[in-house]
């Protein structure tokens, strides 16, 4: 129910936080909430700025120091750091996030870890020239200890692949 009433500010929350943070980063040295409010313009209430700054403080994106009767605020991270923090909160709240977001890799059990290490160890250690040498390494005659598998791969890759994209 409350969702309906508060919808516009909620949708803008992430962007508001980001703009407050970027305003702080443009200041030379600590800035007051009033300065941030002025800088942003756009009819933001003073209390809103304070709320957003407090929220950023909880996320570790800003720090503050007492100056006279109010606080002076300092940025502690950039927009990317703030986004990283928010993303972690989203992901940590989701118990089985693999179910929702297809992640690049799933975690490994101890047995899987051994298997992966073995599989990677079978590969020639081309760490140094991994960028340039991948295809060259494939086409070159296999160094000692490499099974006949590169030939199979070369065959598979050199085979004409008619319309691999549209075939089904």
């Amino acid at each position: 129910m409350t969702d309906h009433r508060r919808r516009p500010p909620r949708r803008a929350q992430g962007e508001l936080e980001a703009s407050v943070l970027s305003a702080l980063r443009e200041a030379d040295g600590p800035a007051t909430a009033g300065w941030v409010q002025e800088r942003l313009g756009g009819g933001l209430a003073y209390t809103t700025v304070i709320t957003i700054l407090t929220r950023l403080l909880a996320k570790g994106a800003v720090t503050r120091e007492r100056s006279g009767r109010s606080f002076a605020w300092l940025p502690a991270s950039d927009e990317a750091g703030l986004a990283a923090h928010r993303m972690r909160r989203v992901l940590d709240a989701e118990r089985d996030r693999e179910a929702v977001l297809a992640s690049f890799v799933t975690g490994l059990g101890p047995e899987d870890e051994r298997l992966v290490r073995e599989l990677l160890a079978q590969q020639p250690s081309d760490d140094a020239d991994a960028d340039a040498g991948d295809d060259a390494a494939d086409a070159a005659p296999s160094p000692a200890g490499r099974p006949a598998q590169p030939h199979a791969e070369r065959r598979a890759r050199s085979r004409p692949r008619p319309g691999t994209d549209g075939e089904d």
């Binding site: 490994l108 059990g109 991948d134 691999t164």
Partner: protein, 310 residues
Amino acid sequence: MGLFVFLPLVLPLTAWPVTRLAEHHLHPRTATRLLSGLAAVMAVCSTVCLGLLMVVGTAQLPGNPLPDGWSDPEVREAVPYDEFAGKAAIPALLAVALNCGRTLWRHRRVCRLAHRALAGLPLTEVAVLPDETPYAYALPGGRRDRIVVTTALLDHLQAAERRALFAHERAHLTAGHHRHLLAVRLAAQANPFLRPLRTAVAYTAERWADEDAARAVGSRRTVARAIGRAALVSHGAPHVTLAGFAAPGPVPRRVTALLGPAPAVRRRPSLFTAAGLAVWGAAAGAAVSAMSSANAAVTMLVILHAATPL
């Protein structure tokens, strides 16, 4: 309609053999599309039949809002074991509706929150987040599809492997794998017999993206190395859903598959291999499922129409 109304509830079992064999015998793209299609058809049919049973069951409850004629003996005779089946169908269908709704709601919510978390960053395809936890995933929807990756993961990969990672995630987004995954997750909620298809599609979709990435970067080896390295640095969070299985997990199988030759794309699997037989068996199961539920639905409509006092 007799026992036909129960068939779609158990026919998902015919998809189990192909679930086991698809991984090794079908191209990942074919396997993903086939399995998610089968799951969707069978889930819809099974839910339709559950709905028909529920109508019969509800009509027997005292004080129900349905027309009185619907609890007549003629209607009840249409369903074998009408007393038990009808009443059991009510909580079953409610559970299906509730779980599907929750799955859908959570999917939307996570996507929305994740997009909102990125607000304030420039709207680029790749969003790099400074974070010590290594992770990467494709984030569909929002103002544009995005790839989210942390600096911790990028630091552990070489330039070619990073390209492989981005190509993999981009393949997820361009092929819309989240739709396949959502379809099988909903199907698994609709009928528990469809759960193996969910696990299978989660794997074949990753394999599909791996193969696309291998073609994009021009080296299967690089993609294999990228997956292996990424898994080794992010091994802190074991994949719980597969814990307890003796078989190797999805990551070693993906790496092994990439170190082997590229899978062939076949138009139509032969009937005379185990995999071909499994594919055609599952297709027949889905067809029978569709026909039985259509038959049951039409029969039920006719009977209910006749039983409704005008």
